[in-house]
Symmetry: C2
């Protein structure tokens, strides 16, 4: 196995985690990584905070540069190299050197596909104009930052009220820009239930964001130079010196599909728990691959940095002769709008209903600290449990001041298949600066137990 | 059952939780509570913050007053009534009305003992002098506050570096007092391992607290009026206009013992998982009673408000004809010294060793947020796992800015009997303002998996 040449397509979290793991286990093995962009191993999640000015340089978001991988780990990382074809039968890749414009074939013994995901681009007029951006790669974040610095906008429109939309609203407000956010859904954060998202919209409006729900992006209008100047929805026209499109992402799985590798229903590459694809010797990890959902007990497409890192570690372990399974995801996620922390895990009420599960649910309002302690903030917790058994299926938390990371307690309890009653009696930490004597997640569980 | 008269001894967290639960289930039942102090249902844990001036009135620490229990819940709470004898055979109590100085017998069908705990008073000269205080009841906290306001101290000595000692050091510093803290152990916080407590002492010294370890309290010296003026250890004399003694607590179990009710090795009342004592019809809950330790799998004495509330809920459920077991404790606890959050759960390395368990342990340093995110603070995490199985036995966390409540993730994982490897693959929440992509508790688990 140590003589098998490993080739990795994609030099971000999943690909480089796997390559690094293989290197630690097999010091002499040949490892080649092709990355079509100019960067490796960066913190894409940090981009809104870079754009906000809270992080002072794009360099700070880079965990490890290509030259460091090459020199310290003897991993042959080739940036600006795009893989355009996988030849499964020949065990080789067709690669384009983007700077030289040259193509070549590269052989592999083991192949890891870690091609990531790309933003969904809506089919509306002028979406490719100057001043219209999505966020995906670090390069895309740098381009937004440079554009803002070169053409300081007075107004911005964000299309999409998901994580990117909410984080970019905070970032652009921080820059003193007048921000509008539109979403065709009747709520923001559609991974959460409506009763949990009202407070988010309220906080955004209080901060001065113009939030328009149930409105569909119809076109982007441009000025004489072909630069975005306004956005039209089905109900209004909004001035927009800059437009951010955050309408979700789709897996970069075309390369795999074209080679005959099986995709899942989500469109992402189907893998088993060891991260093997349908093709022998071919593995997939990160945003381009599916995961097993621990509660749904079926494949799911969850594209997040945490998952990509775990995928990479599992793939790397198995590629080095280990035997590791990835136990799966819960769709845990967290974000914030300024002080308001927003988190979810497991099934929302809507997801439980869509799956035909008989469930009960409860939403409670509590405080993050003892009621008498300075800084005790409001927190709303929603739990979803299986109706007959009381087994925890999902949780959502919205609140300030330490509310959000409480989702981890729920993620652990759901993974352990605990009931609401078992959560009530967990020995969680209490002191007045940290919690009421019944932690808010336990207060919610009590109402269901 | 609804005709059985319930008498409760002790009107704080455990007793009133149980009484309230019984009332909810049995609206017409006779419930009498005897409380020797003047207060019911108060937040004893808030006293250091009351003394610090962060909480503006003792009233804010009272969750529910006796008259509210009487009027709203028809619970006959009699404050300033001390129970001095339990007559098991006669199913009655001897009670002293402290204000009238009169005694009487009160009959019961069911009895709940919730007599709490008292501070350990060291056997040293002048420990009963004016200006020397322990913290236990709300009344004791009010007395400290009044003393500080009437005799503003320049200097204070705290004996004992446990939770109370550390919290009172913060409180008295907040008042502008010059604070010394002595402990006979070579470390503070003896429920934690030494490698985790160095940073606590450093933070205290940086804040100006004079910390003296390996020093034994030998005597309290008094001035002409019989008021404390200094404290002598085996190594030095320290000026002390006020002295706080925080040397731990012992359960108030004499009343039960004298009646022939079985105590545990800890000296607290032995109970089963339903909170029943050895005497039929007699229950115990709160700081006077033992708990089952989920990892040690043996009885333990853990006197904390969280546990008292859970004891009370379990006892109250069973006293109302329900069938509820208390699954037990992990010894989870949290406190802080100013910005530094301090938390522990399960077994420390020392406890694992004392129990003869073959264990492995690892201590790691990480950050509470993405390294590039403003406010990313240092956090140290220690995990203890069973050697062969990798099963999590305990965890300790010290760090700023959101470090502490991460202990709940560990408490949940330990309760679910997870291994370090299972913790690594939990789907915990990540975003740059909240965590690195591997949460610190998972980074620690990775080093052990």
């Amino acid at each position: 196995m140590q003589n098998r040449k490993l080739v990795v397509i994609g030099g971000d979290a999943a690909g480089m985690s796997a390559a690094s793991k293989v290197r630690r286990e097999h010091p002499g093995r040949e490892i080649v990584v092709f990355e079509r962009g100019p960067h490796t191993s960066y913190a894409a999640c940090g981009m809104p905070y870079l754009i906000a000015g809270m992080v002072d340089s794009p360099d700070r978001l880079i965990a490890r540069r290509p030259e460091v991988f090459r020199e310290k780990q003897q991993i042959d990382v080739r940036i600006r190299h795009e893989v355009v074809e996988i030849d499964l039968a020949g065990k080789r890749l067709r690669v384009t050197d983007l700077d030289r414009g040259e193509g070549f074939w590269e052989a592999w013994d083991d192949l890891l596909i870690a091609t990531g995901a790309s933003p969904v681009v809506p089919d509306v007029p002028n979406v490719q104009s100057d001043g219209v951006f999505s966020l995906s790669t670090l390069q895309s974040g740098i381009e937004v930052l440079e554009d803002i610095e070169q053409h300081p906008p007075r107004t911005a429109v964000i299309a999409g009220g998901g994580y990117i939309g909410i984080e970019m609203a905070e970032a652009l407000l921080e820059r003193g820009i007048d921000v509008s956010l539109i979403d065709m859904a009747p709520q923001v954060m559609t991974t959460m239930d409506p009763d949990m998202t009202e407070g988010i919209v309220e906080a955004m409006r209080d901060a001065g964001v113009h939030v328009f729900l149930n409105e569909k992006l119809e076109r982007i209008d441009t000025d004489g130079d072909g630069r975005a100047s306004s956005v039209s929805t089905d109900k209004r026209r909004l001035d927009a010196d800059i437009v951010i499109v955050g309408l979700g992402i789709r897996p970069n799985s075309d390369l795999a599909r074209d080679a005959g590798i099986e995709l899942g229903e989500s469109g992402a590459i189907r893998v088993n728990l060891r991260m093997q694809t349908s093709a022998p010797g071919v593995w997939a990890a990160g945003d381009c691959a599916e995961s097993f959902h621990r509660v749904k007990e079926q494949p799911a497409f969850v594209a997040l940095g945490t998952i990509a890192n775990r995928h990479g570690l599992v793939a790397g372990t198995n590629l080095s002769g280990g035997d590791q399974e990835f136990p799966g995801v819960l769709g845990t996620a967290i974000t914030r709008f300024r002080e308001l922390e927003i988190a979810r895990t497991g099934l929302s009420e809507k997801e439980a209903g869509d799956l035909g599960i008989a469930y009960r649910t409860k939403t409670i309002d509590a405080r993050t600290r003892a009621h008498y302690f300075p800084g005790a903030a409001k927190v709303r917790v929603k739990l979803v449990v299986e109706d007959n058994t009381g087994r925890l299926l999902g949780g959502q938390i919205v609140g300030a001041n330490g509310a959000g990371k409480r989702i981890d307690t729920l993620a652990g309890a759901i993974s352990a298949r605990m009931t609401a009653e078992q959560l009530v009696y967990l020995d969680l930490a209490y002191a007045p600066p940290f919690s009421p004597v019944w932690d808010p997640v336990q207060t919610a569980a009590r109402t269901l137990a």
